[in-house]
Amino acid sequence: MNEASPRNNQIKRVGFILLEIGSILMSSGASTERVRRTVQRIANSFNYKAELFITFSALSITVINPRGSDTYNGIKRTPSHTVNFKTVSGISRMSWAVAEEKWTVDQIRHELSRLNALPHYSRYITLPLVGLAGAAFCRFAGGTVSDLLIVFVATVAGLFVRQEITKLKFNQYLCIYFASFTASLIAGLSVKLGMGGNHEHAFATSVLFLIPGVPLINSFSDVIDGNLQNALIRGLHGFVISFAIALGLLTSMILYKFS
């Protein structure tokens, strides 16, 4: 052990935690520029300089001390992308606190584990509220009260199937496909039985709770910020999700012989 080892240890610890923060932010639905800014803000508060290379599925970091005598290099894979704005908001607040109050690495680690343990909304809240959001889409399209009810039931069922299938660790696009198929199957059934007037309203809006809003909006912000690679990849991700939704709808249409 040489005398530089404690300092070396510090830069390593900071680098580790920065990689972790970056990968959590990326997978929770922050734009590329936000990930970079947040990580650099925290690195600066330790008086280090951080350079990041951010992609959709992994990020790489170089942390340098002011004299350039110590560096840390690391790569971390990003966990699968699931939108979670509670962590985005929590980490953003934390980064300001770190910069203003000069937190230690241990404090950051403690706060990260607290943020990770924060509960999600329970299923009994999520299902009806998202069902209402689906009904709202139907209302904008000009649906009647019976259409709204149909879409509510279809959306709740579709989201339930999505949650259950995600637990079984299927491919994420396949999960979307199954959810879209379930929702449109239920909406289509009521149309087939003659409960709704015009089938277009209920049938088309029953799958809209699946639209990939966060990838598409982040794709646009990435274009503006000049992170064109990530923008293209996010756009493609959103496009494949849309395609999976359309495929689910199409399967129901073929089954019910709608045209």
């Binding site: 936000r34 704005f85 607040r93 509220l129 709202a136 904008f140």
Partner: protein, 171 residues
């Protein structure tokens, strides 16, 4: 203009925003602000639509309103603006148009010839372009207020110009 119908749809916009906010697992303290943002954005869109604006410009207006308000909301509730603006703009996504575009594409891939092919092609391209431009104006409208402010973070950004320290003391 039918105000009760407009009001009802505006409330639905707010409800849809709340639904997506819950789906995205936002902090509980931001939910009321998200409802208001969604409702105001919806109101702007419907109001513009009533006054002979195209659906593309109306969506841009609605999302601009959401983008501006999300900066104030971020200050009041201490959360990044995207937490408010993303769930609020998603209800404006043109679902029916996208559905019609998809139907059109499927029909074009089938066996159609002559005049009916032309009319389906016309409709599909029209719907597809509308969907694309509306999506771009939604994402753009949310981003534009940040671009104009030329700030990396909204943390130190105030919508109203601040009175300088000395002036404030005098007043």
């Amino acid at each position: 203009m039918d105000w009760t119908l407009l009001l009802e749809k505006v409330v639905w916009f707010g409800i849809a925003a709340i639904g997506f906010a819950v789906l995205f697992n936002v902090p509980v303290r931001t939910l009321p602000a998200t409802f208001i943002l969604g409702a105001v954005g919806g109101f702007c869109k419907l109001f513009l639509l009533e006054h002979q604006t195209t659906i593309i410009l109306a969506s841009l207006g609605g999302s601009l309103a959401i983008g501006l308000l999300s900066i104030s909301a971020a200050h009041i509730k201490h959360a990044p603006p995207l937490v408010f603006s993303t769930p609020a703009v998603i209800p404006m996504v043109p679902g029916i148009l996208a559905y019609r575009m998809m139907l059109g594409l499927i029909k074009l891939a089938g066996d159609v010839t002559g005049n009916s092919y032309n009319s389906i092609l016309n409709e599909t391209v029209n719907n597809g372009l509308k969907v694309m431009l509306i999506l771009m104006s939604l994402a753009g409208g949310v981003a534009i207020p940040m671009l104009i402010a030329r700030k990396e973070s909204v943390k130190h950004l105030r919508l109203k110009k601040k009175i300088t320290g000395t002036d404030k003391e005098k007043v």
